[in-house]
Subunit: 415 residues, 2 copies
């Protein structure tokens, strides 16, 4: 089945907000075999919204909209939908009750703008928005004979949208929209590192050329890894698995993981399996590596803590890096990262530790150590390993890549 | 002038990558008075790309595409453009020279797939992509009399796109595309916190209703703040400034800042102005607050470091939180966050410190301290302040909001 997303709201088009919703929705939809044909972002503008709806319905069976459902004047999605589906607004007792419940401890929110939230289009089916006041709306179109089309309108606030999808819309799709015979999309991903994309493509070319037409390969380079994604359209998952085995064999020299999980999740899983613990000592990555390691639920089983040692005083006083090493070799050096990794491992009594120190720029570079130079060390029960990288020229790029390198190497060392 | 963005690539539509490019481009374009009408994400599929180009050119003067310019098989943008603009590929000596220069230290990358990168559409003007091998292409259409249209094709890798825009495309637009008489868009933003969106809308209603037609107000709620954005279309910036002054007066009770900068930038600027320093002690935010404070260049002037004290042992041993406080009140308590903030302030010899300890979930909640409960403390030269928040139910939402609350309060305390 084909679907499209229309995001409604000026904020995306003036760049005040990044659209993280669409990627999340795309993943969930793919998992249940709903292909996403197009994502369209339009302004809070009636003519433009109507045109986008027309175009989306010309290609897709299911259209999702996010945004424009707040109680304030600039939000017009509900009114536009009512007009588009030729219906009027009526009071919904269920939504009204829900809103009273939602704000029972915050009566100041129950003002006359909030009251407009329980007016809903008469032709829409209303699903419960457990965590917000905007009603979730489902419209069913039956314009062509034997071909139903659906529209789901959701709030744009990411966590409201996610709960709406998980608790209401995905179950609704399974129950009312999708049939067992739907076309199946199967994705399999293999992650590699340490080979340029074009060289990898040459290695894979004979196999890739021989791939059946209904299985496609995509290269997704990201932060020092390349994700090789196989997508099977309407084929048995076993056939995609078979091609994945061939692919894994071809890339075994550069293999990082055989699944599409974030690196920090893979590291966490391996640490948990080993009942081992980890800590980080960060200079240039500034806490990013820590935040990655504890991003997911359950991280307290393996992640103990970190010292972000941005200044040399902190490296010396908290992590015990010798003044000698700092003065003689500089903060961005093998000696210093080794002492940082060992220092935090000792301080926090962990099995493993990672340390980073680099020049994230834009200032602070030299001929010998240009911006992008990052020293890293991994302290393990088997000893401490250190490596130097050149990771680009832009601050965010350098620190993101440093985190990825740190995790890739850690993954190999825990093995 | 009207523009549109078309992002090309399966990866966005299966949700493997979040589109951060469009928001960044939108901001830059708005700054030079180029309005963004629509963002469209399509697959690496010739028919679909051509249709998206047709539609974009029916609405906009300038079309930007990102993605699909790599050397591998799945990338087809260049071929589609050549066919769309009815031209053939020819070798570009300039691009060839640039690619040799780019990979002079990595000859293994100069393989036959990389060589396809210096084949460019004959009718396109080629701009230099300083940091990558994919050529930047400019096509000029002149289909309607007296109405030129432009297409700029860029790589999708965020840092390549950004450098392409900054160094090549924005200057090209100023020089060749925009005239001085272009319609001017002026944005002004005021940030508030501590009032529900609908209550704020009621406070602002009389003033908002009286706004001239060419000045519009938008409410952008985000992480515990509401950004109120005034946009003036084709009006003198001074008129927008005047409305901003009225707005600021109306919201002064909840005012956080009078400009649209990230909170961590505002905190950094205020600390630098005071020549003051800061450190953080983080449990539930896990390094996120540290990473925010050192995200931008120049942070070493005020940011010293952090202790991410995820385990109680680290809270006790590194930050000096008393075993008594941990046992008696629990890790998520006023007593513990106060000791954490004071502990890291002492350890890192800073003027200010922020501490966070909360229940990010999904487990660990209780009736008394449900998931979402976060205690925070701010240690300052004038004493230590603590506050408890309930910040939602989802891990990422809770920790993001905790960072924002921490920064909002810090901003008020440095004042």
């Amino acid at each position: 089945m084909q679907s499209e997303i229309i995001t409604i709201g000026d904020e995306l088009l003036i760049g005040q907000v990044v659209d993280t919703n669409s990627a999340w929705m795309a993943q969930r939809l793919n998992e249940i075999g709903v292909e996403l044909k197009q994502i369209t972002s339009v302004h809070d503008d009636e003519t433009h919204i109507r045109k986008a709806l027309d175009e989306a319905f010309s290609r897709a069976d299911i259209v999702f909209t996010t945004g424009g459902l707040g109680p304030t004047k600039d939000d017009i999605t509900k009114l536009v939908m009512a007009s588009y589906f030729d219906t009027r607004l009526v009071e919904s007792a269920a939504v009204k009750k829900h809103i009273y419940e939602l704000y029972k401890n915050r009566p100041e929110v129950l003002n006359r703008l909030t009251e407009t939230q329980w007016m809903v289009p008469e032709k829409a089916e209303i699903l419960e928005n457990r965590v917000g006041s905007a009603p979730l709306m489902v419209f069913v179109r039956n314009e062509c004979k034997n071909k139903k089309q659906w529209l789901f309108a959701m709030p744009g606030v990411p966590y409201e949208m996610k709960i709406a999808m998980e608790e209401q819309i995905l179950p609704y799709l399974s129950e009312h929209v999708l049939s067992g015979a739907e076309r199946q999309i199967t994705h399999r991903t293999v992650m590699v590192s340490g080979i340029p994309e074009s060289s990898l493509a040459i290695v894979l070319e004979p196999w890739e050329t021989a791939l059946p037409k209904d299985i496609r390969l995509a290269y997704l380079p990201k932060d020092g890894t390349i994700r090789l994604r196989l997508s099977g359209y309407g084929v048995m998952p076993a056939r995609v698995d078979e091609e994945k085995r061939r692919l894994t064999e071809l890339v075994k020299e550069w293999l990082v993981a055989e699944e599409d999980k974030p690196l920090e999740v893979l590291v966490g899983e391996r640490l948990k399996a080993e009942k081992a613990t980890i800590a980080t000592a960060e200079s240039c990555t500034g806490g990013k590596l820590a935040a990655l390691l504890n991003k997911h639920a359950g991280s307290s089983a393996f992640y103990m803590g970190s010292v972000v040692a941005y200044s040399n005083e902190v490296k010396h006083q908290v992590l015990g890096v010798s003044a000698d090493a700092l003065n003689h070799y500089g903060a961005v050096s093998e000696q210093v990262v080794r002492q940082m990794a060992e220092g935090v491992r000792r301080l926090m009594h962990t099995d493993y530790a990672i340390a980073t120190s680099g020049i994230a720029g834009p200032d602070g570079g030299s001929a010998e150590k240009p911006v992008g130079t990052v020293w890293m060390a991994w302290a393990t029960p088997e000893g401490t390993f250190a490596e130097c990288f050149r990771l680009g020229t832009l601050r965010e790029q350098i620190t993101d890549r440093a985190c990825m390198k740190a995790l890739i190497r850690m993954l190999q060392l825990i093995k």
